[in-house]
Symmetry: C2
Subunit: 361 residues, 2 copies
DNA sequence: ATTAGCACTCTCGGCCCAAGAGTGCTAATA
DNA sequence: TATTAGCACTCTTGGGCCGAGAGTGCTAAT
């Protein structure tokens, strides 16, 4: 009894603090939640919770606020699963249904998630390691530069310009282009890159060799998601309303470091099956000590219907059930975890469905 | 004499205030700039300048700070042209030379400009109204959706997915695609859209009619820069360091409104030949009352070598010498205008050259 | 037209104080 | 043993007060 009530108290403290952003005291607690005991009892519990490191007092004789550990426990064990409101559910589909291309969808998804959570939202574009090549188009732009446009079966498009010392002759270029398209169609990207390298070894394609080499490099880097690894962010303005001034500057610095955020989120979603949460120092990012990150992978079938086995198993390493990309939200440690988690999960599911639908060509 | 010294004083006040961010008093002025007169004289001048609306006192017996009008006068008449430092000049070329595609270049340019100015930087991608079609690729993604990729001669790539009730048969699609590419190659976008509409009128292409119509619409909207009108922003984090807290929230809100910013900048660069400056309320944007915007168009030949006349004059309306896109920086009203203006101009020139080089195919 | 001098004004930081909120402890109670 | 009432104690917060400092505006002299 006593043990379980303590955790009920913890939960109440976290909830109230999330709402009010002010240290919550024992009397306030008894009044708001009917715990059936007096404030004195609560005081004892809170004192114990402080001993155990779940709560902390900003100063003697103030209310308590949750520590990182408090939030962590809250998230792990106490947060109840809030279903998405009908309006939000409808919002997702209506808001995203009008989108017109993959980048557009992801941008909208970020904005949507930012709206729901009232926080920063981040969406990464799907990693292409498992995507297959659909088409390569090589377009000369002027005397020395060529534009290569690479289209994958998931609808991702990458472009890359090359500057060449000398333009390969048009005929060879054309033949080369046709050959690549013919041979690499529906091939996983890394494999396609290798095939391209094989092709240019042939003497009749020596004139396009530098171009081919660059092209192969581009396809490879596209597969490994370097550079291509676009990231869509929205809702940064909301931070200015929510965070205290002192925390703001380092937080914005951190957000500008897109690479760091990407890495953090991808780690987070690899460690967790569904939605992962990193609180404060758990983010291992200096600028985010007062922030928390909620993120989820998307794009891989969730636990259950693994479609593995019939996929190309030769090239792709061990990453078979890893999510392809991730979506997340960043806010203060005292964010509304329940809402945020549900929202992130919902958007992730939507995007997963979308990707799956596209791949089921 | 008296008139000219007053303006010297104004300039001094603006400069000092920009440096210190604190109200500047008469004695501080006489000490810093050797104006050859006593503080009492300066006091009289400042008093006069306040009468005329160039300066204002936060409260009686504090120093003065410039008003919007003060900044405006400073920018219009007093700001001396500061040459770009050697390091910055080198920075531009080295920083931008490694870029790999147009979006990449623009993103880098935004980051670069943000670094130089220490403020938010914005770069829009070139309007495509004058671009010509280079290639259209239609790729079926799955049973009901098609991906269209449109490539222009300036290296811009737009993608757009369509959901069709029924897939057109592959043969017709192929023929249609080839025909469009053959007929529309090197055609300005709006014209190309019209041609596509003509093509699908033919009975043999009735099966691709819905697709063709959508395609035409996409090409058109691409020409008018709707949706495609990508915008690259960098340096938002710097705001948190520079602006006072109260101004921050509305400013971020304004920045999130990309459309507003785009419109503002494009208006600004249309009104001005080179670099345009909008200060505070001149921006006509609530969130930017305490901010100033410096922007310049780029992509059209600057005053002098107009290449007009030999361009396709049939479709494009009156917008012949308008800049194609713009680059700008947003910061507090007390920003360092001189540096910002030079930096914006330099980046704009660089991008102009770049575009011109690409178009000279 | 400029300047020295001076009285005046206003902000800013420090200090004190009272109110309020909340705690921790002790002793009583079920 | 767990809970509770009561109470002394602590700490923040906001207001008011004050003196220092910076800066102005005015006047009278140059």
């Amino acid at each position: 009894m006593t043990q379980s009530r303590r955790m009920l108290v913890l939960r109440a403290v976290v909830e109230d603090y999330i709402r009010s952003q002010e240290p919550v005291g024992s009397t306030a607690l008894t009044r708001a939640h009917n715990l059936g005991v007096s404030s004195a009892t609560i005081r004892n519990d809170m004192s114990a919770l402080e001993e155990e490191g779940y709560l902390i007092q900003p100063h003697t004789s103030a209310g308590r606020i949750p520590t990182e550990r408090g939030y962590r426990y809250f998230v792990d064990r106490l947060a109840s699963v809030v279903p998405l409101s009908e309006a939000q559910r409808r919002g997702i589909t209506t808001f995203l249904s009008g989108s017109v291309s993959l980048p557009d969808t992801l941008q909208r998804a970020a904005r949507l998630l930012a709206n729901i959570t009232g926080q920063v939202a981040v969406v990464s574009s799907p990693a292409l390691s498992k995507s297959k090549l659909r088409h390569i188009e090589i377009v000369p732009l002027n005397a020395v530069t060529m534009l290569a446009v690479i289209i994958t079966d998931s609808g991702s498009v990458a472009q890359h310009t090359f500057t060449l010392r000398q333009l390969p002759d048009a005929v060879a270029l054309n033949r080369f282009s046709e050959l690549v398209n013919a041979q690499c169609m529906y091939m996983p990207l890394v494999q396609a890159a290798r095939r391209i390298r094989t092709i240019i070894k042939a003497p009749e394609y020596s004139s396009v060799r530098p171009l081919g080499e660059s092209l192969a490099k581009t396809v490879e880097s596209m597969a490994h998601d370097e550079g291509t690894g676009q990231m869509y962010m929205a809702g940064t303005s909301q931070l200015a309303h929510k965070q205290s001034y002192a925390d703001l500057a380092p937080l914005f610095d951190a957000l500008e470091e897109q690479v760091v955020i990407m890495r953090l989120m991808s780690d987070l979603s690899e460690e967790n099956e569904g939605v992962g949460v990193a609180i404060g120092s758990e983010t291992r990012t200096p600028g985010l000590i007062h922030a928390a990150v909620v993120s989820s992978g998307y794009g891989r079938s969730e636990a259950g219907d693994e479609t593995r086995g019939d996929r190309d198993k030769d090239e792709v390493p061990e990453s078979s059930s890893h999510p392809v990309a991730f979506v997340g939200s960043i806010g203060p440690t005292h964010m509304d975890y329940e809402t945020t988690i549900t929202a992130v999960r919902a958007v992730a599911r939507y995007l997963t469905d979308l990707i799956a639908r596209d791949e089921a060509a």
